[in-house]
C-alpha cells in the first residue's frame, strides 16, 4: 500500500482538480460578475438560485448542450486540438502548486516554480493554433497579439520571479514558503518592486484588462475565440481563469507567504488565527439574515443551506484554534490540522485577493493599444525588472556580508527598492518626454 501510494495519491488529487476546478472557475466567474455589478451600480445575476448562486451550473449546462460548430474552412484537427492544449497546460500547471503544506499533487518537484511557469506558458500554443486554425482574420490577429504579448511580458515576469527566488534560494514550492516562515517576512515586502512587476506582467500574461487585447471585444470581436462556440469555447474560458488562478498562486507562493498567516512567527499576533472562522461565521450570519427576504421557498432553503455550509466551515476553521485553549493537552494533536486547514484558508484568501485586484482593474481602466502595450513592456517593465534584479542581488550580497536576515534584511533591500523606483519614474519621465516630442506624428509601428 505504501509502495502504491506514490501512484494513487497524485492520481486522486489530479482527478479532484480536473473535476472540481471547472466548478471553482464557474464560481470565480459568478463572483466576477457580482463584483462587476457592484462596481457598476447594478445587481448582476439574480435569477438562478438566490443571488444567482446557481448561475454557473446553468451556464455550464447551456455550454455543454450547445451545438458544436467547426467552420468549413477551419483546419479541423488543429481546431479540435487547440482548446485542449490550452486547458491541458493550465491544469497541468496546477499540479506544481502547493495549496497547503500537505496538499500538492506533484510532491516536491525540485524545479517547482520553473515547472509551473514553463507549463502555463505552453498554453499560448493553444491560443496561437486556435487563432490560426479558425481561418478568420479576427482570430489570427488575436492570436498574434496574444503571442507577442506573452513573449514580451514573460520576460518581465521571469525577472520578477528571480528576485523572489534570490531570497528563497530554492525553486521548490514548499521550501519557498518555508523560507518565508524562517525569515519571518514575506518576500513581497522585501522586494515590492518585483511584486509590482509580477503583478502587471501576470495581468498581461493572462490576457486580462487593461491588457486584454487578444480578445478585445470592441476591436477583435472575441479575438482568438471568435470562431469557437459551445464546449470548445468554454475550454478556452476554463483555461483563462485557471491561468488566473495559477499566476495568483505563484505570486502568493513567492511573494505573499503562501499558506502562512500574516506575521506567522509573531506570538502576540496569534489572535489573527480567529480571523478565518470569524469571517466565515459572519458570512453565514449574513446569509441567515437574508433568508426571510428570499422570494421563493426553495430559495430560502438554499440560503439556509449556504448559511449552514458557512457555519460548518467556520466550525472546522475554529476547531484547531479553540481546542488548544479548551484542552491544552490536545494542542500537539491538533497542530497538523491547524497547518492544513488554516494554511488552505490563507492560501485561498490571498489568491482571491490577488484575483479581486485583477477584477478591480478590469472594471476601472480602459484598454491599452497594442503599440502602447509593447512600449510599456519593453521600455518600462523589462528594464525595471532587470535593474531590480541587479539591485536586489547587490542587496542580498550586502545582507549576507552583514548577516542580516528577517525584517533586518529590509535595511539592505529597501534602499534597493527605492532606487529601482526612482529609476522607474525616471524611465517613465523619459518616455513621456519622447512621446511629447513626436506626439503629432503618425501612430508608431504595431509590431516594432
Amino acid at each position: 500500500m505504501e509502495f502504491m501510494k506514490q501512484y494513487w495519491a497524485p492520481l486522486v488529487c489530479g482527478l479532484a482538480i480536473v473535476a472540481v476546478l471547472p466548478l471553482i472557475v464557474g464560481y470565480v466567474v459568478l463572483v466576477e460578475r457580482k463584483i462587476m455589478a457592484d462596481m457598476q451600480a447594478r445587481l448582476g445575476p439574480m435569477r438562478v438560485g438566490p443571488h444567482g448562486l446557481l448561475q454557473p451550473i446553468a451556464d455550464a449546462v447551456k455550454l455543454l448542450i450547445k451545438e458544436d460548430i467547426i467552420p468549413d474552412d477551419a483546419d479541423k484537427l488543429v481546431f479540435w486540438l487547440a482548446p485542449v492544449l490550452s486547458v491541458g497546460a493550465a491544469l497541468l500547471a496546477m499540479a506544481g502548486l502547493a495549496i497547503g503544506p500537505a496538499f500538492q499533487i506533484a510532491q516536491d518537484i525540485n524545479v517547482g516554480i520553473l515547472f509551473v511557469v514553463g507549463v502555463s506558458a505552453m498554453g499560448i500554443f493553444g491560443i496561437v493554433l486556435g487563432g490560426w486554425a479558425s481561418n478568420s482574420h479576427y482570430s489570427l490577429m488575436g492570436a498574434l497579439r496574444s503571442s507577442a504579448q506573452l513573449v514580451s511580458y514573460e520576460t518581465a515576469a521571469g525577472m520578477a520571479l528571480v528576485c523572489g527566488l534570490l531570497f528563497a534560494g530554492t525553486l521548490n514550492v514548499t521550501s519557498i514558503v518555508e523560507a518565508q516562515r524562517n525569515q519571518g517576512i514575506w518576500f513581497g515586502l522585501l522586494a515590492p518592486v518585483a511584486l509590482f512587476t509580477y503583478l502587471v506582467a501576470s495581468i498581461a500574461e493572462t490576457n486580462r484588462a487593461p491588457f486584454d487585447l487578444p480578445e478585445a471585444e470592441s476591436e477583435l470581436v472575441a479575438g482568438y475565440m471568435t470562431e469557437f462556440s459551445g464546449f470548445r469555447w468554454s475550454l478556452y474560458f476554463l483555461a483563462e481563469y485557471t491561468n488566473m488562478i495559477v499566476v495568483a498562486s505563484v505570486a502568493t507562493t513567492l511573494f505573499l507567504g503562501g499558506w502562512l498567516r500574516p506575521f506567522s512567527e509573531t506570538r502576540w499576533l496569534n489572535f489573527i488565527d480567529f480571523f478565518p472562522p470569524l469571517l466565515t461565521a459572519v458570512i453565514g450570519v449574513y446569509c441567515l439574515m437574508r433568508t426571510p427576504k428570499q422570494p421563493a421557498r426553495v430559495q430560502q432553503l438554499f440560503m439556509l443551506a449556504v448559511a449552514g455550509l458557512c457555519f460548518a466551515v467556520a466550525a472546522v476553521l475554529a476547531s484547531p484554534v479553540l481546542v488548544p485553549i479548551a484542552k491544552p493537552s490536545l494542542a500537539a494533536a491538533v497542530r497538523p490540522f491547524y497547518a492544513g486547514i488554516h494554511g488552505g484558508f490563507w492560501f485561498i484568501f490571498k489568491v482571491s485577493a490577488y484575483i479581486y485586484f485583477f477584477m478591480w482593474l478590469r472594471f476601472t481602466l480602459p484598454r491599452y493599444r497594442f503599440d502602447q502595450l509593447m512600449r510599456l513592456g519593453w521600455h518600462f517593465l523589462i528594464p525595471l525588472s532587470i535593474i531590480n534584479v541587479l539591485l536586489i542581488g547587490i542587496a542580498m550580497i550586502v545582507g549576507v556580508y552583514y548577516h542580516l536576515n528577517g525584517w533586518r534584511l529590509l535595511l539592505a533591500t529597501l534602499p534597493a527598492s527605492i532606487m529601482a523606483l526612482i529609476i522607474a519614474l525616471f524611465i517613465l519621465a523619459l518616455d513621456q518626454k519622447g512621446e511629447a516630442q513626436k506626439a503629432p506624428s503618425r501612430a508608431p509601428d504595431s509590431y516594432a
Binding site: 457598476q40 451600480a41 476591436e219 476601472t364 481602466l365 484598454r367
Partner: protein
C-alpha cells in the same frame, strides 16, 4: 516591396515588409460599429492603410416615405432617424414646416421645446460617452451613463408617454401641456447631474491609458473639418466656433446664456472634452429655462389640415451630433413634394477615412466612437 492601390484614390501604398495587405471586414455585425456600419479596412499588420465605409444596412427610405404622408403624419418618422435623439429630430422637422407655413410656435411652447431638446442633448452625449468608453475598453462608465440617461428618459415619459421615439412636438407647438412637476423634475436632475459629470471625468480625463488612447488619435484639422462638412462637436473640437444655437438661434436659445466649448487640436481627446463641456452647458440652459417658463397657449393657430403655400424652405438645428437640416418643398398639397434631410452623422462619417489612415485597428473603433454616429440617421 509590394504596392497596392487604394480604391478610389489611385494612391500607391507600400506595406512594411512587402507583405500582402490584409483586408478586414469590420461589420455590419461587429460589437463596436454602433449598429450596422460596415467598414472595409486595408491593413498592413495592424496599421490601417485604407478604409471604405459601406452603409445602407438600415435604409428605410425615410425621405421617400415623406412624399406619401401628410405633414403631420410624417413627424413620427423623423424620430426613427437618430433614435437616441428623437426629440431633436422632431424639433427640426416641426420648425421647418412651421417656417413653410409661416407660423411661429408660442413662447411657452418654445421654452418647453428648448428644455426637452437640451435634456435630449445630454442623454445623447451620455450614450455617446458610455459606448465610446466601452469601445476603448472602459466597461464601467457605460452603466453610470445609462443611470443618468434613465432619469432623462423618465422625464420624457412623464411628459409625453414615450421614452425613446417620443414624438414630443407637433407642428405649430406642443400637443401636451407640461406636467405639473416638469420644472421640479428637471431641477432635481440638473442638481444631481453636476457631481455625476465629475465622476466620469475622474474615471477618464486624467487616466493615462485614456490619454494614450485618445490624444493624437484621429486628428481633424479645422480646414479639413470644414472642407469635409463636419459639424457639431466634431467641428468644434477642431477649433471652429460654430454652433447653430448661437449663429441662427431657433426655439428659445436667444434668451439663454451659454458657452460654446471648442477644442484645439481636433483629436479624439478634444472631442471628448468638448462633449463633456457641452453637457455642462446644456445643464445650465435647462436650469435657466425652468426658472421662467412663460404662461400662455402651447399651440399656434394652425388648421387641422396643413396646406403650406407652394415654396421651399431649409431649416437646420444644432442636434447633439451636429447640424440637422430639413429641406422641405411644398407644392401646395397636404403632402410635401420632397423632404431632404441633412443628417449630421452621415456627413461626419465622411471624415472617417481621412482620420483613420495610418492608425491601428484599435484606433478605428475609437474613431468610430468619437464621430458619434447613429446608423439610423446615416442610412435613413
Amino acid at each position: 516591396m509590394a504596392s497596392n492601390t487604394i480604391a478610389g484614390t489611385g494612391e500607391k501604398q507600400q506595406t512594411l515588409l512587402g507583405a500582402d495587405e490584409l483586408i478586414l471586414n469590420m461589420g455590419p455585425q461587429h460589437p463596436s460599429t454602433h449598429g450596422v456600419l460596415r467598414v472595409k479596412l486595408k491593413l498592413d499588420g495592424e496599421r490601417v492603410i485604407g478604409s471604405e465605409c459601406l452603409i445602407g444596412y438600415l435604409h428605410r427610405g425615410v425621405e421617400k416615405i415623406a412624399e406619401n404622408r401628410t405633414y403631420q403624419q410624417f413627424a413620427p418618422y423623423v424620430d426613427r432617424m437618430d433614435y437616441v435623439a428623437a426629440v431633436s429630430n422632431g424639433l427640426g422637422y416641426c420648425e421647418a414646416v412651421e417656417k413653410l407655413l409661416m407660423v411661429e410656435a408660442p413662447p411657452r411652447a418654445r421654452v418647453i421645446r428648448t428644455i426637452l431638446t437640451e435634456l435630449q442633448r445630454i442623454a445623447s452625449h451620455l450614450l455617446w460617452l458610455g459606448t465610446h468608453a466601452l469601445d476603448i475598453g472602459a466597461l464601467t462608465p457605460l452603466f453610470y451613463c445609462f443611470r443618468e440617461r434613465e432619469e432623462i428618459l423618465k422625464i420624457f415619459e412623464k411628459y409625453c408617454g414615450a421614452r425613446l421615439t417620443t414624438h414630443a412636438f407637433r407642428i405649430g407647438g406642443l400637443q401636451y401641456e407640461a406636467h405639473d412637476t416638469l420644472e421640479k423634475d428637471v431641477e432635481r436632475f440638473c442638481k444631481a447631474f453636476e457631481p455625476r459629470i465629475k465622476d466620469y471625468e475622474d474615471l477618464l480625463t486624467q487616466n493615462r491609458i485614456w490619454l494614450g488612447r485618445t490624444k493624437g488619435v484621429g486628428i481633424l484639422q479645422a480646414a479639413d473639418a470644414i472642407a469635409l462638412g463636419a459639424t457639431g462637436p466634431v467641428l468644434r473640437a477642431s477649433g471652429v466656433k460654430w454652433d447653430i444655437r448661437k449663429a441662427m438661434p431657433y426655439a428659445a436659445y436667444d434668451q439663454y446664456k451659454f458657452e460654446i466649448p471648442v477644442g484645439a487640436t481636433g483629436d479624439t481627446y478634444d472631442r471628448y472634452m468638448v462633449r463633456m463641456e457641452e453637457m455642462r452647458q446644456s445643464r445650465l440652459i435647462c436650469l435657466q429655462a425652468i426658472e421662467n417658463i412663460p404662461a400662455g397657449p402651447i399651440m399656434a393657430k394652425v388648421g387641422k389640415v396643413l396646406k403650406p403655400p407652394p415654396g421651399e424652405v431649409y431649416h437646420s438645428i444644432e442636434a447633439p451630433k451636429g447640424e440637422l437640416g430639413y429641406y422641405v418643398i411644398s407644392d401646395g398639397t397636404v403632402q410635401p413634394y420632397r423632404v431632404r434631410i441633412r443628417p449630421p452623422s452621415f456627413v461626419n462619417l465622411q471624415s472617417f477615412d481621412h482620420m483613420v489612415k495610418g492608425h491601428l485597428v484599435a484606433d478605428v473603433v475609437a474613431i468610430i466612437g468619437t464621430l458619434d454616429i447613429v446608423l439610423g440617421e446615416v442610412d435613413r
